[in-house]
């Protein structure tokens, strides 16, 4: 929205202070980063329309931009009491729960936002992302027509190649399935992993491994064991081995449980070397 548009809206509001034009005007000011002005417009609108969910949603978005997440939550909460299907409020509260780490509640609100407004910007992607972080089948029960297709059923994109075209674990056993390279934030940066039923699970596992990385680091530090070098695990059907090729990356190797942990350690060492070379090349 241009400055001229804002000027027109401002004059409309001045001519008719009871007009609902404060909604697009406040939103336009918010998008331009004029948060103080946007907040004043929203508050003025709310004095006239205290029961208008859209007005509370506008104020919540402004407060969110100002970093006042508690008040933003309160405003979205009011908006939902006034209109339990308000897509913007569900989206906002879903985002706040996501930021707070409460993924089940985040998912609940994001799915409600998607159901109320299937075309809402970014909501379908957010639902898929949270479902994957929760390791749930993506959109198992589609909330509304037009929902995006299940994400977890799609093959994971191939890892980014080096400038020369080589994938990170090229030439190693399980380069695309059973070797995973991720960053400290739990984002997959190379390799891939499938569940026994063939579902691609690399991204979901990577998200959880970031927590293992933090917990292992914390345990070794607080117990005065020095830096951790590896975490090995045995399940009834697989053995896994984790190590950190660099201080900012983590490598997971998963093999059938017929492969002993000792051999996994050797394979992980080779994969870690490949990862280091790849990361240096990609830097």
């Amino acid at each position: 929205m241009s400055i001229e548009d804002i000027r027109v809206l401002t004059s409309q509001l001045a001519a008719d202070p009871s007009s609902l034009v404060f909604l697009p005007l406040g939103e336009a000011l918010r998008r331009r980063g004029q948060l103080e002005a946007a907040e004043k417009i929203a508050l003025a609108g709310l004095t006239r329309y205290p029961d208008l969910a859209d007005a509370h949603d506008l104020l919540a978005r402004v407060l969110g931009d100002q970093g006042d997440l508690e008040r933003a939550f309160d405003e979205w909460d009011i908006a939902l009491r006034l209109d339990p299907r308000h897509a913007g409020a569900h989206k906002g509260i879903g985002f706040l729960f996501y930021v707070a780490g409460d993924l089940p509640k985040a998912l609940e609100h994001l799915e409600s936002a998607h159901a109320a407004d299937p075309g809402a910007e970014g909501v379908a992607a957010a639902v898929a992302r949270v479902r994957e972080a929760l390791a749930l089948p993506a959109l198992a029960s589609a909330p509304a027509a037009g929902a995006t297709p299940p994400v977890a059923a799609e093959p994971e994109p191939l890892p980014p190649p080096l400038p020369g075209g080589r994938a990170v674990f090229a030439g190693l056993e399980g380069a695309q399935d059973g070797l995973l390279l991720l960053d400290g934030n739990g984002l997959r940066i190379g390799g891939g992993l499938s569940a026994p039923d063939g579902t691609a699970v690399g991204d979901a596992v990577a998200a959880h491994l970031a927590g293992v990385f933090r917990d292992a680091t914390r345990a070794a530090r607080l117990l005065h064991l020095g830096s951790w070098t590896s975490v090995a695990g045995e399940t009834t059907d697989a053995n896994l081995f984790l190590c950190a090729p660099t201080p900012e990356s983590l490598l997971l190797l998963v093999r059938d449980n017929s492969v002993p942990i000792g051999r996994l350690a050797l394979q992980a060492e080779r994969a870690a070397e490949a990862a280091r070379r790849w990361l240096e090349g990609a830097a």
Binding site: H208, V212, L222, W228, T229, A232, T235
Partner: protein, 116 residues
């Protein structure tokens, strides 16, 4: 039963390089029983080891696998080894860096079986 547990923990701590062993409640991360934990903060070992095991369990679950039946965190100056036991428990050993991991794993499993 209590003597059995103490005996099992002592079998673990008899392995050369093992500094201490304990039974931990897996969900709460609290010490249930411990042996030879001198110089080691048992409450910290229990809480931190249970944290690593739970987190790794969530990763294996996301991978469509079962929960880990053995976990080994190796660090520069020591290691933590854990085996789940019935009743939502973990048998945990704190060791020096150089230790016969296979032997400790065996004793941890024996102790876990005693808890059945």
């Amino acid at each position: 039963m209590r003597l059995d547990i103490v005996g099992s923990l002592e079998s673990i701590t008899r392995v050369r390089g093992v500094r201490g062993a304990m039974i931990v409640s897996a969900e709460e991360g609290l010490v249930v029983a411990e042996s030879s934990m001198e110089g080691i903060d048992g409450a910290a070992v229990a809480a931190l080891t249970a944290g690593v095991v739970a987190r790794l369990g969530r990763a294996t679950e996301a991978a469509g696998r079962t929960a880990p039946a053995f976990v080994h965190l190796q660090a520069e100056r020591g290691a933590l080894l854990a085996v789940p036991a019935p009743g939502d428990l973990l048998v945990v050993a704190v060791t020096d860096a150089a230790v016969n991991v296979g032997l400790v794993r065996l004793e941890l499993r024996r102790a876990a079986e005693h808890l059945a």
